[in-house]
Subunit: 405 residues, 2 copies
């Protein structure tokens, strides 16, 4: 008998018919002899409707009240889900994040889980029930209701699976799994049957839209196997698991793309210790996440520092740069939001030196200029013009032999 | 400086515009130097929409999940209310029933408050905040979310006012206060400026629709003055207060009507001890609330017992009567759902013997037959044909001098 955490996103519980369909699937999983814990998001567009109501009431509001408001969404879907389970003969009970023992820090709208105390979930399982848990929410050490930020319901599911030592955390969504590239960009993209945690980390970090980076990180740290799959076809999807040393890995598993970032260049900076530190400290204090960083050293003891930030942070990042421009002795600060990034990810890249060359050759062959490069042992990212990203992904997908037959 | 609990019902928080209007009023109350605790119901028809969703998901459901679902309604309105207060410069924080320390028994959908521990509400007040509390909900001794049943938000407000030793509990609604009769029935009905707890108990018990009996009972037991008033005009409404022994009371304050009940007659019962007990024990065990009871004793050692029950309980009550018919030796059991009740209520009735006579004369003058009578020291109710109720109320309203000029 396996213990399975099944998480259903907004589209999977979008209306009464879909909720009943999910309940049937949970009943089937139970009938096969498994214990099941269900985690649900708010229904479809309900969260957007609540935000619209809040807009109508007040132009500004505290994060605490925003969390109080939005957590109503999962409360509704979890109660409905429990009722739907009852209708197909599965005994269940719903639990808020607080009741499920999800203890977070006090940062409203983007809280981090500090501790899991799922005693009531364990009791419910021991009583033969299917616990239905509200995703996305917790209770802070100050006893206030918090939300976990974007992708928070996945984090709830993975954290529960870890705390309960579940055999697998199934993430149900409206796509069939993780693909070798975005199927909207590459029609011949293939569903991956299995990827390693390390690969999935890179895929999520570089533009893969199926799972947020933080839930993959959490799963890797706690050794929770994830199975990403469709709640519309119920077919097997993609397993995200520990790297298996006995198997030979694909050299390149997936091509990802991301056009959500902009590039900032701080040029003509003296090449001495402390300069980069001063710049990135100022950015960090402004709450800005910096992604790729490239520094070119010239012969003249000055250097250019380029980095990428989310487009939504661009104005704040430029302001931060201008605040330190004088003190670090930079000549110019400039930005460019017409960039995009294309990335190849593969666990087998470590031992395959020809991969970098093939990527550069492929882009060069099609006249695509590379503006920044960054690498890890299993990833290679190139910043190029934004309007060339889609064709770059398609060419790389073919060049690395990923196209479906 | 007074401490005021202000409770706003569903129509008072029905949309964004109304929520902002309430926030303005709370700000005004604060600006006048008062401490304020706000209690809110779910927005307008939102609860009905949730019930409709539940109907679409499952024909049956547990009461626990129904409570979990419905409490999302107040969660939404309290967060929106707190945001609206922020927009007008009033610092506030919202609290669920559980966070507000409303501890109930475990009877889902109709829980009773066992204990109030409003520590967080007191702390919020001490911090200069306006606490916004979800009405209608609490947390059970088993740590599950419960709801307080019909009129539950009023109970929340009164219980909080009692626990916090508030100076007044203001109940805002869509009518101007408590009237001398239902203005839909009697166009010349007047708003009452002040009624005693005892009078209000009788008004609520016999058809007054402004306040549920249980919140009036609670307020009387805990000596919490209530002020029922309009959130549309913001004008003073009706005060419900301790009887003031120094003032002369109105002989009759209000005429109420109720056509929601049916009459059952158990006829030809032996007039001996234990018969009524057996009958009403059977009804009580079936969970049926019996209202008026009249027993006529005849010369032949047999008696007829008539009583009224809610029409919704009529079938169950008839079944209960038939179960004991043989054992108590009753000749017939019959029912009549075309009855109505008209009631006069007044604290001064105690000392005014002519009141009963005037009521009977007035009904008789207009050819209205009285089928059952029941009295308390400050109330007199007559059961008559349902289709004569409206005119009976109007005639009595005039006869007792209640018509507005």
């Amino acid at each position: 008998m396996a213990l399975i955490v099944q998480k259903f996103g907004g589209t999977s519980v979008g209306d009464a018919q879909r909720i009943r369909s999910v309940a049937d699937h949970v009943a089937t999983t139970r009938a096969a002899g498994n214990e099941v814990v269900v985690v649900v998001s708010a229904m479809g567009q309900f969260t957007d409707e609540l935000v619209k109501l809040a807009d109508g009431v007040s132009p500004t509001r505290t994060a605490r009240e925003m969390d109080m408001l939005l957590t109503a969404g999962e409360r509704i879907s979890m109660a409905l889900m429990s009722m739907a389970l009852g209708a197909v003969g599965v005994e269940s009970a719903s639990f808020t994040g607080s009741q499920a023992g999800i203890i977070t820090d006090t940062r409203h709208t983007r809280a981090k889980i500090l501790e899991m105390r799922p005693d009531r979930i364990r009791e419910a399982l021991d009583d033969g029930l299917v616990p239905v848990v509200a995703g996305f929410q917790g209770v802070s050490t100050e006893r206030d209701i918090t939300t976990l930020g974007r992708g928070g319901s996945d984090v709830t599911a993975v954290a529960l699976a870890a705390a309960l030592k579940a055999d697998v955390c199934e993430i149900y969504t409206d796509v069939a799994g993780v693909f070798s590239a975005d199927p909207h960009v590459v029609p011949r993209a293939r569903r991956l049957e299995k990827v390693s945690f390390d690969e999935m980390m890179e895929i999520s970090a570089t533009g893969g839209r199926v799972l947020m980076l933080r839930s993959v990180e959490f799963a890797r740290r706690h050794h929770v196997p994830i199975h990403v799959r469709s709640s519309f076809t119920w077919k097997p999807g993609t397993w995200i698991v520990e790297e298996d040393p006995t198997m030979e890995e694909a050299i390149v598993s997936a091509i990802t793309d991301d056009t959500s970032e902009a590039k900032i260049t701080v040029a003509g900076v003296p090449d001495r210790p402390g300069v980069a530190a001063a710049l990135f400290r100022e950015l960090a204090d402004a709450g800005i996440n910096v992604d790729m960083i490239v520094q070119n050293t010239s012969a003249h003891a000055v250097t250019d520092i380029s980095f990428t930030v989310a487009k939504t942070d661009l104005d704040a990042a430029m302001a931060a740069c201008r605040r330190v421009q004088k003190s670090i002795g930079a000549e110019t600060v400039s930005s460019d939001d017409n960039i995009g990034r294309v990335t190849i990810v593969g666990g087998g890249m470590k031992s395959s030196p020809g991969v970098t060359a093939l990527m550069f050759e492929t882009l060069s062959l099609h006249g695509i200029n590379i503006e920044m490069i960054s690498t890890s042992s299993i990833r290679l990212s190139c910043v190029i013009r934004a309007d060339r990203v889609a064709e770059a992904v398609r060419h790389l997908h073919s060049a690395f032999g990923l196209d479906a037959e």
